[in-house]
Symmetry: C2
Subunit: 67 residues, 2 copies
DNA sequence: TCTGAATGTCAAGTATATTTTACAAATTTC
DNA sequence: GAAATTTGTAAAATATACTTGACATTCAGA
């Protein structure tokens, strides 16, 4: 399932996948895969992404479906 | 760094590490390691733990230090 | 005390997250 | 419309999350 919250939060900051990847110290492909979905990143990477985008875990990685 | 939020949330539900592990379909050692800290679980496991304990990601895995 | 349940921890193996390299398609910019 | 940037994707290699099995320690209850 695509992570559209992440994709739009990145767009709101006007960052390319590669720029976000650099901020998080991961490869561009990793960011691409996370946005694409069907991927299972580590919590530390999720936190790094949140910090780079000024969001929290719940805002980017929590689905109402989960509750 | 120890995850005391997780440890106390589990205690509040009166679950052993092994019981929580079963609910999340992981081994007891994995839960133990996460509570102990210096561990980097995947987001899917974090979500499974949150669901089992009735908490959200921010409540169990977000540190104010991160913000 | 003794027993059993819960936890900490370690070593070796397996599964999978992430990287690297690479190419094509789509999008933007001039 | 060509050039540069961004994105999707794939295969092979590497790093690391997670499992299994095992043993020691702690602590509550009989």
């Amino acid at each position: 399932m695509k992570n559209l919250k992440l994709k739009s939060a990145r767009a709101a900051k006007d960052l390319s996948q590669e720029q976000l990847a650099d901020l998080c110290n991961v490869s561009r492909q990793t960011i691409s895969a996370i946005e694409k979905g069907d991927y299972n990143p580590t919590i530390n990477l999720c936190i790094a992404i949140c910090k780079a985008l000024g969001k929290t875990l719940d805002e980017l990685f929590w689905n109402e479906d989960n509750e």
